[in-house]
Structures are given as C-alpha cells and as structure tokens.
Symmetry: C2
Subunit: 330 residues, 2 copies
Amino acid sequence: VATLRDVAQRAGVSVSVVSAVVSPNRYVRMSQQTRERVLKAIAETNYVPNRAARTLRMARSGVLAVVVPKIGNPIFEDMLAGMQDAAEDLGNQILLAEANRVRPGSDLLSSLQGDGHVDGFLIRPTPTMDATVVHELVPRHVPTVVLDAWEHPEPAWINVDDEGGMRVATRHLIELGHERIGFLGAPVSRRVQGYRTAMDEAGLPIQRSWVITPGFSQDDGMSALTRALTAKRRVTAVVVNNVLTALGVLAAAHDHGVTIPQDLSVVALHDIVLADYARPALTCVRLPMYELGHRGVHALAEFVAGRRPPSGTIAEPAPQIVVRDSAAAP
Amino acid sequence: VATLRDVAQRAGVSVSVVSAVVSPNRYVRMSQQTRERVLKAIAETNYVPNRAARTLRMARSGVLAVVVPKIGNPIFEDMLAGMQDAAEDLGNQILLAEANRVRPGSDLLSSLQGDGHVDGFLIRPTPTMDATVVHELVPRHVPTVVLDAWEHPEPAWINVDDEGGMRVATRHLIELGHERIGFLGAPVSRRVQGYRTAMDEAGLPIQRSWVITPGFSQDDGMSALTRALTAKRRVTAVVVNNVLTALGVLAAAHDHGVTIPQDLSVVALHDIVLADYARPALTCVRLPMYELGHRGVHALAEFVAGRRPPSGTIAEPAPQIVVRDSAAAP
DNA sequence: CTGAAAGCGCTTACAG
DNA sequence: CTGAAAGCGCTTACAG
C-alpha cells in the first residue's frame, strides 16, 4: 500500500505538504499547482491515510462507542440512524455495543476506554447498567454522553420528552371520552408523571390499582393486562409505557377474548413500523428518537473536542400522536 | 496514561519483557519472579496496551467489519449474537455497518479497507449490493466472507440451509394434509427449490399461479395475499419466504376477513421472538442463524490469518419446525 | 512557501 | 534469559 512518503516522492514534494493536503481540518497555504500535483499523485497511487498511524500520533481515533441495551430493539432504529448520519457528517465512525457485553471490568469496556481505541461513549442506559458502567466511566474523564436516562447526575445528558409523550398519549384518550385510564408498563418516573399530569389537567382521579407496572418485555404485557381488566374499577383505556409491551397486550387481549378498541383502548409510547402491522394497528406517540441520536453524537463530538456540550431535553419536534386503530371512544 | 516504558521502568525490566507479558499469543521464557514483577507493575500503573500503536506495528487491527442490510432486522439478531460471541472469543471486535451506508466508493468502504482500520469484511449481502460492493472488495484481496448469499463466486461463503428450511416448512403442511400449497415471498431460488422439492417428493403438482413473489417487506405481504386467495385453484396453505412478510400476511388476512389457520395455513421461514406474539402465533422454521454468525467470524479470522477457510452450508443444527398456531389441517 | 526531523507506543529481530 | 534499537506511517513544531 502507498504511504505518505510514496505520494510525496511521486509528487516531488515533502511529506508535510501531502499531509496538509489530506488532513481535512488543516489549512496550509500552497500553490494551486503544488496541490494539484499532490492530488494527482494520490489518485495514481490509490493512497489512503493509515488510520492507526494517525490515531497514534494524534491520540484520537475518530471512533465513537455507542452502547444500547439491545441492538435489535426496533425502538432504537431511528436513534441509531440519527447517530450514523451525524457521525458521517463529522467524519466519525460508530462502534456499536450491547450493554450486556459492556459489563464493568469487561474487556470491551476497559480496552475501549483505556487504549484510546474510542474517543468517547454515547450510552443509552438500561436500569441495570447506568449505576455501574456509567459511573465507572465518568471519574476516568472519558467523554461520555448519556441518552434518555432516568436519572442523570452525569457529565452530559440528552433526553427525549417522554413525560410529554405520556401526557399526549393520555390526553388523546381523554379527548376520546375516556375517564378511567390506566398506566401500563415499567414505572419510569417521568413517564408516570406525564400520565398523572394529563389526568390532573382534566380533573380525572387516578385509582391506585390503575398504575400497573410489570416490566419492559412483551411477556410482562401479557400478565399485566389481566390485572388491568380485573381491577375494582375496570379501566376503559390504558397508556402503555412501551410499544413492545403494547404488542404483548394485544396478544394477551386476543387470548382473553378482549376486543381492542371496543373493550379497551390502547395508546403506546414510541412509534415503530411494527405498530402499523399489528391488528388492530397500534395508536402510538412518536418521540424524536432520530434527533436524540443525532444530537447525542454532536454533543459527544463537542465533548471530545474539549468543549462542554449543553445537556437538555429535545423540544423539537414535540411528541406527536399517531392515530391508528387501537384507541376509540368508550 | 501509562506506557510500556513506564511499566518496564517500574518493574525494572526492559520493554521487550513487558511486551511479551501483555501479548496474548507470544510465548517467551522468563522467570516466574520476573513475570510477577511485571504483572504487579501493570496493575499498579493501570496499564492498557495502546491499540493504535499495536495496529500500526503489526498491520492488523483486530476489528472485523460486519455489513448487514438492516441492523434492526430481527432476523439478524441471533446471527449478530453469534458474531459477537465468536469475536469475543478471538479477541476481535465487530464494527457493524448497514449495507446502504457502504455504497461503492463510499467513505466507509474505501476508508475501512484502504487504511487498515479493519482486518476484513463479513458481509450478509442484499440483492442490490452483492453485485457491487463484494466485487469491489474481492480483487483488492481484502479478506471477505459472504454469508447466506444467493450466489457465490466469492472468496469464501457460508450459508444456512434455506433450501432445506423451505422443504421442512412445506413438508409440515403436507403432513397436516394440505395439497394445494403456495409459495409466498421473494423468489430466492434456493428457497423456491426447497418448496418444489417437498411438493415433488409428495407427488403434489404445483400450479404456476401458486408461486407468488412480491418482495421482502411487509407491505408486499399484504398485496400478495390477495392474489393467493383469488387464484384459480385457491391454495389452502402457504409457505412464506420470510417471517416479516408473514407478519404482513397476518395483517392482510385480518383485513380481508380471512381467518388463519381455518381459511389459510401459514408457515414462515426464520424464527423470531415476534412470531410468538403475533395472533395467531406464527408457525416457523428455525434456521441456525447464530451458528451462521459464529462460523462466519471464525472463517474470516482464518482468512485474516492467511489461511484458507472452508466454504460450505451449515448442516448442524438442521432447519427445524417450530409449531405454533398459524398452520392446521385443512 | 517547503523540507528535515522528532516522536506517538508498540513489536521484533538481534546482540549480549 | 534480558536489553538496545529500528521502524510501522503519520503530524507538527521548527528551521530555512
């Protein structure tokens, strides 16, 4: 493979000139003629800068580690797309890892951050992970941005407005005429809060038994539904924390002879393609996940560059209801 | 950060000794005492080898690029897990990329393979991609292994037995008593062949109109179903190329008042969690996708090491029917 | 404006 | 068994 030296020789210039030509963020004055000669030599030799050498010299790799709970989770699809697009714009690359492979003390974690292979971490935590991995990273001054986390005494964080999302979901049901509305899903406090706020605003009381909190998986949706339907004051609608749980709810409803939306209206948080293929198709609240990923990468890049990125919740676009068939008037 | 030199000084030995201790695949004789001193110094200094330096020196990065059509596609979930596990065993790392971001001439592709950032490529092609990207890689002698490809004049390939899978799917329906069985989905030749073989073996004729080939997405499943049900000699069952298409079929059936499995039995290729949450739950054929990913990484590692990995179709475990509720006796 | 040289942190013959 | 030294391919002061 061709090296800088080869190109320089061929172009009849010194390596510094070639380096200046191929380094994106370096402005060096040189004659137009010289630059063209170099460009020509680069094309002829098929030269590509050796990244390892550059990384070694500059102590920066251009690789950003992204840690998510589960790579295949459709909820992250848009977020990952936003990250990829942003990384591409910035000339960075994304190294994708699953949280369960990034345990404290794991090879991946220590090797990644210890050896300069990645410049920083973009972490979408899981409940089991933020307390461990994130807190291991922070004191070591590894640039880290936490996404959509439940708590954030962290260096930098960017959130999606899931409180607002739940509020929108609940309000949609209220506008449809529902009064006994339940909350189904993991009790992420911001999300429960959004539900409560919407109920309060409408002057609707909440029964204790209406807040049903199984977990995040689809299995949980199944068993949770039974409880919702046998509560003292039976709910006529539920907002579901997570669209995957909602898929489980649909299956459970089918198995128990509960017809949606006639017997029970359902609105889920997060909009994914699959919601459209469920029957009934799921009414969802769309959160700006693409923007979350996009802004996350930009924030991390700021951090890596030595600046202090602003933390915050994404206001634009606001959570938006996507009306399909799983919610109707009571 | 501590360097090899720091550790050597602290342990009172030369850098070569420390290097020998931290290099996994190098056996050097040294006194037990020396080794322990080095280990102690490593622990005290929190030393981690600098990967960029090692990569530069050894001209090998330990990073394997994996290219898939869509990262979020649940069909690849097991495959990616197999890759991660294998990579972890081998001390390699996976750089995951989507096919549509690895266009010919793209930064990603050329930079990845030109600059030694990755040691090789593991590609699960899409119909639009194998003809371009793969053929760009091969002549450049970049170690490349192609997974589950439809055609493979490639350097090394590993397939899953999808022909056998479709045969198993079709046979299941035949054993249930079906005689008019259709094929629904993209006309991947090996898969159509599996269907034909099973029908032939049972002495069942195939009508031309029974082989319905829309495409890979769920949308296509929708429109395809209509055709299947209005064919001259109406089918009583279909094998579906792809479980995602089958999800579309389920939705379409629901919308058209077709009851599954009473009016139409469905068996899909590939088993994913979602199949269990559909209603009716989808009967599927499970293919060894985990093994595909696992063997793929091992083959690529062989290639990188200068050996010639054997190509072939994975025989163990064989495609296996996972019986759920979408297929019944006619 | 251009060139010669140091040095990033490793691995690996090679000499002792 | 252990140490001194070259060199992987870059970037970047520094001198001309």
